[in-house]
């Protein structure tokens, strides 16, 4: 069912763009900020990153150790469930493959956990194979706190709420466990190209 709006249409300067998933618009040079609560300001000395399984911490990097890991530069399009997309955003960070390379696991899912209590869930296969990073640099500068600094997850092929800000923990699970927004009616997987915004999409 399509309901047409009289007089509404593609505006000037808004050409069709096959880089835009359905229902999204190009935010241009802007970079909106979204989070459910206050921005944490944890001192870097206390910002570690850990990989857990269901019972134990398997790996831990202090902030300095994380900074010393090999970083990759990447330029990607990002898509927020609140409808904006941002093209060619430039990041630097550590591939999740690298963080998990010495961690033998039969896990199927990951729950990403953040400073402040935010969580989001992903299939493990969406975090590996060169599709996800933990980034600490945006546009050549240290990632600002309001955008998730000192370090956030970056999973550009899923809606951006999956790219957890203020990342502190990756928990490897043998089952799927809904994260924060996923328990509030947002889609469990969140593929922007299939417009999986909300549960049931």
């Amino acid at each position: 069912m399509s309901v047409l709006s009289r007089g509404f249409g593609r505006g000037r300067g808004r050409p069709a763009d096959d880089r835009l998933p359905p229902g999204q618009y190009d935010v241009g040079s802007g970079f909106p900020v979204l989070s459910a609560g206050p921005t944490p300001h944890t001192p870097l000395a206390q910002c570690d990153l850990t990989v857990h399984d269901e019972t134990d911490a398997l790996r831990r990097w202090s902030w300095e150790e994380f900074r010393a890991l090999p970083h990759e530069a990447l330029t990607v399009d990002i898509h927020c469930v609140t409808k904006w997309s941002k093209f060619d955003s430039r990041w630097e960070g550590v591939a999740v493959d690298r963080l998990l390379q010495d961690v033998p696991t039969t896990a199927t899912h990951v729950l990403a956990g953040s400073d402040g209590g935010y969580t989001t869930n992903l299939p493990l296969e969406d975090l590996t194979g060169g599709r996800a990073w933990v980034v600490d640099t945006y546009a050549g500068e240290p990632l600002p706190p309001e955008h998730g600094g000192p370090a956030r997850l970056l999973v550009p092929h899923l809606y951006f709420w999956k790219s957890a800000k203020w990342l502190r923990r990756l928990t490897l699970l043998h089952h799927d466990e809904p994260g924060f927004w996923e328990t509030f009616g947002y889609h469990n997987y969140g593929d922007p190209w299939r417009e999986q915004r909300y549960s049931g999409d």
Binding site: V3, G9, G11, G23, P32, A36, G37, P38, K83, D201
Partner: protein, 252 residues
Amino acid sequence: MARAAVQRRLNWLRARVLDNRMETPRVHRLVLDVPGWSGHLPGQHVDVRLTGEDGYVAERSYSLASPPEVPQLHLLVERLDDGEVSPYLTDEVRSDDVFELRGPIGGYFVWSVSADRTDRDTARRPVQLVAGGAGVSPFVAMLDHHRRLDSPTRMQLLYSARCEQEVLARDVLGPETTITLTREAPAGWRGETGRIDAGMLQRRTFGPAERPRTFVCGPTVFAEAMATTLVDLGHDPSAIRIERFGSTGEPS
């Protein structure tokens, strides 16, 4: 964390415009009849989808400014001059026009009488609302809901507007509301003036000792400043919920 979210599919519904009237120079109130609407909680929002005759589709989110007790859905739409959806909704849409809408969306930035009746310990904590500009929309739904159901929960709103002419939903705002005007105040103005800062928060909101449940809604810069200041004043970060609209780019 509540794990009681309702996980049902949100279908697109037909919203028929009953009224589109200027609320303030920059904000219109759209009153919608939405057959099949399943109800909502104050604070939730909807997605609006417009389809042009050329097939062009645009979607945006708007907070609901009406309480669940009102059968029609009210949206307060701020006209953004460089926007592609809001100027259409404010300037072009007329009564009996139809567009698509789905919701309700979001289960975190909500307050309701029924939840407070279920959780008496939480209900003893007051509710502090802090709004910047059109960010008052979800709070209009909360205040109206609170009043219609005669809720015992203590609730206050601190509302920052640029000038008196831009104050929204005056019919709903009562003695629980403090308005501060940031650009100009009329002669004899008895509310606050100037931007909300730490001192105004201390004067005009529930203090940390009362463990308020705090909701902040407004543009990103506003929301970020309010949240940071509230945390600095000693409020528990986990008790502060934020809804941001607008952006450094093109908002809705």
